[in-house]
């Protein structure tokens, strides 16, 4: 049934359709509306037989999830940014123990400097944590992928993180088709735990493992993620059969089949890129888009298959490894070097950091430069070089030049010049 609602409310309703048993939560912008709405659904009795608990920290929240999931509960929580970092130890623990928890990450930048707006730094901080990490482009996909996430998590006994861009999706009011409960029940079977704390059949979970078996345990975690590659594709098909729309899969291609230049990205920026490609195609550009829907497992084969006929790939990402560069770009570089060949040019573009608007105009400039063979290997889109140089000069001139962020804010006139340098 069609509704007009914010991404967060839509996700909360989708979670409720999946009938979770336990939901611990802790507020952090921009995911808070999801757990707020779930509290209403539980308290008002619309979501029955569910323990909802507003706990004292994200670390407690994920730990609560671990206890619940290990006792056989379908378990959900949501977080973002600093919250994810605060729960980090438990994030690794949940995947290490193989517990099928589903968590929404309302993607947000990581401080310092503190910043509540959207980018993918939080998601990338847990890229090696062993969780399945899916990205969505729209609120409709957010609804659909959360339903698939429970099925995937429980089939593999692995936690799944659904990444949705903070504010851009969580706070955007759009049209969403919410599935009927019967459809969800048809798609998502009741949770049968692979391991469960049960007095009728006692087992120990979380024993110490030394060098004699640690490698095998870790390898099996990797193996499970590889298994997920086929499972994600298969479940996307099942989903489409029941719900009548295509909302999943490892990657999504938009005019990429015959394109010479392919933009690669994850999340809501795909919408802006599609607008741009529509324009450029009308003008005769050979350009397309590859949207990565699954980041972990990394769908190397699907990516190579989609990129094999292109000559240039522009990897656009909303985060980077400081001191190294684009994370996605280097992963795609590695995958394509191995399977496509060295002729494919990979350009790394970092943009949209801390919520900076990603305009069609700026994206178009990238494609224009690429088509002329003039796009640099590494680009920080819309970087204000003047501001950077001013601060670098200040640091060179004065050993006590003060905190960078505040200096720059003063330069651009955001804060008053209480201290002059």
């Amino acid at each position: 049934m069609l509704h007009q609602m914010s991404g967060s409310i839509a996700v909360a309703k989708a979670i409720a359709l999946c009938r979770p048993d336990v939901i611990p939560c802790y507020p952090i912008t921009p995911q808070t509306h999801i757990v707020e709405h779930l509290s209403v659904l539980v308290k008002s009795g619309q979501l029955e037989n569910c323990s909802y608990e507003n706990v004292e920290s994200e670390f407690a929240s994920m730990s609560f999830c671990i206890g619940a999931s290990a006792t056989g509960a379908r378990t959900y929580t949501a977080t973002a940014s600093q919250g994810l970092l605060y729960m980090m130890e438990a994030v690794y623990n949940a995947s290490g123990l193989g517990l099928p928890i589903v968590m929404t990450l309302g993607n947000r930048a990581i401080g310092a400097p503190i910043n509540i707006w959207n980018d993918h730094s939080d998601a990338m901080s847990v890229r090696d944590a062993g969780w399945i990490q899916l990205f969505v482009e729209s609120n409709q996909q957010a609804v659909d992928v959360h339903i698939q996430a429970f099925k995937l998590a429980e089939a593999l006994s692995l936690p799944v993180m659904v990444n949705m861009d903070g504010f851009i999706l969580t706070h955007a009011i759009t049209r969403v088709d919410l599935p009927d409960p019967e459809q969800v029940d048809q798609f998502l079977p009741p949770f049968v735990a692979r391991q469960k704390l049960d007095t009728q059949s006692p087992l120990s979970i979380g024993a110490m493992v030394g060098p004699d078996a640690f490698t095998e345990v870790r390898y099996l975690a990797h193996h499970k993620q590889k298994e997920a590659l086929a499972m994600i594709e298969q479940q996307a098909e099942e989903f489409s059969d029941i719900f009548g729309r295509d909302s999943g899969g490892l990657v999504k291609s938009y005019f990429a089949d015959d394109a010479d230049i392919i933009l690669v990205a994850m999340g809501s920026v795909i919408g802006t890129m599609q607008d741009l490609v529509n324009d450029l195609r009308d003008e005769g550009y050979s350009v397309g888009i590859l949207s990565l829907r699954s980041f972990r497992p990394f769908p190397a084969n699907a990516i190579c298959n989609a990129l094999k006929n292109a000559s240039q790939v522009i990897v656009f990402e909303k985060s980077f490894a400081v001191g190294m560069g684009g994370i996605l770009a280097s992963e795609i570089h590695m995958a394509t070097q191995r399977y496509v060949g060295e002729n494919l040019k990979i350009k790394s573009v970092i943009g949209g950091l801390g919520g900076r608007t990603i305009t069609k105009k700026s994206l178009r400039k990238l494609v224009d430069n690429a088509s002329k063979g003039e796009l640099d290997d590494e680009v920080f889109m819309d970087l204000d070089g003047g501001t950077v140089i001013r601060e670098l000069n200040r640091q060179q001139e004065d050993q006590s030049s003060g905190p960078i962020a505040e200096n720059i804010l003063r330069d651009i006139g955001v804060v008053s010049a209480s201290k002059t340098h």
Binding site: N49, G67, A68, E89, N93, P202
Partner: protein, 335 residues
């Protein structure tokens, strides 16, 4: 006792070495006074073969605590464990000493893991299975403190047991916020003008638990296992958050003889340094009176961690420890 167990007991050679002591497990006692451990029906929640040190107070305390909880709940216990000695010595891969459903997640989150287990039981309408969280003093008073306080605040239906040996013994005897003032640890060595652990304002968790006004708080000691069993039993009669702190001597960390564990536990109580009491909903409801009061030196002299405290140069430290015992005696009405 069943007939089968009775006949098995009859066939055993009865050792009399415990006669006349306050130690339990004494098969010479009348049946009604025996501990769970003295019967052959004990659940062996923690089975033999684990890797605890000789004279480990924690292994003893945990065995009694869990077997009692198992008995009073008809074996319906799930336990969550913080990282620490108890976790490590019971689960050397691929073995486990646990015959009950047991989970270890992290060092600082055991209270929250247990809360999650309790929340699941609630969601599924299971009112018979009960949850126990357990950890050492580090996993309780330091790194696990936030999660524990959250669990108290929500009054989650969990019994949290802290095995207090006064330091991070598993990582090599470092100071925790439960380390007694003056004690030598590997991060508070007896050097300089203030040898040993500093005399801070302290972080006495039973009092902090009482401040949360949870249904039941108790302290216990492994020298009086009857009392420990009674307190576990009582804790299981309440719903909501409960806290029991058990004083467990650690031969490794305390520098004591393994054979002195029970004696040390008793001297801790008799000197007033380890008060035994119970509290309900934030109010002190019962104190265990000291039977034979002993000077704190008797307790300290059996532990190498306090060797420097007994030297004349550090008499001020000894005075501070004496004053602490006096304060406990007054506050918890131990005489």
């Amino acid at each position: 006792m069943t007939r089968k167990a009775q006949s098995a007991a009859d066939e055993q050679t009865v050792k009399f070495y415990q006669t006349g002591t306050f130690t339990v497990g004494n098969r010479l006692l009348d049946e009604e006074f025996r501990t769970v451990q003295a019967t052959q029906e004990r659940s062996n929640s923690i089975d033999s073969g684990h890797r605890a040190c000789q004279g480990c107070g924690q292994a003893l305390g945990a065995r009694y605590a869990l077997d009692t909880a198992m008995r009073v709940t008809d074996n319906q216990i799930i336990a969550a464990n913080a990282t620490g000695c108890l976790e490590v010595f019971t689960t050397p891969y691929p073995e486990t000493a646990w015959s009950i459903p047991w989970i270890h997640s992290l060092f600082g989150n055991v209270a929250s893991v247990a809360s999650g287990i309790a929340a699941t039981l609630k969601a599924k309408g299971d009112t018979t299975t009960r949850v126990i969280a357990q950890g050492g003093d580090g996993g309780t008073t330091d790194i696990g403190f936030a999660c524990l306080s959250g669990m108290f605040d929500r009054n989650d239906d969990v019994l949290f047991i802290c095995y207090d040996n006064g330091g991070y013994m598993n990582t090599g005897v470092q100071r925790s916020s439960a380390t007694p003032g003056g004690a030598r640890t590997s991060t508070t060595m007896p050097v300089g003008d203030h040898p040993g652990s500093s005399f801070t304002t302290g972080k006495y968790l039973p009092a902090i638990a009482m401040a949360h006004e949870i249904p039941y708080v108790a302290t216990a000691s492994v020298h009086d296992l009857h009392d420990l069993e009674r307190k576990i039993e009582k804790a299981m009669t309440f719903r909501g958050a409960r806290y029991i702190q058990i004083d467990v001597p650690c031969p490794l960390g305390w520098g004591s003889e393994p054979s002195q564990t029970i004696k040390l536990a008793r001297l801790g109580v008799q000197s007033g340094l380890v008060p035994l009491f119970e509290a309900e909903y934030g109010e002190l409801s019962n104190s265990t009176k000291i039977r034979y009061q002993v000077p704190v030196e008797e307790y300290l002299q059996l532990q190498r961690r306090f060797a420097h405290v007994l030297k004349p140069a550090n008499v001020d430290q000894l005075e501070t420890i004496r004053a602490l015992a006096e304060k406990n005696i007054k506050r918890y009405r131990l005489l």
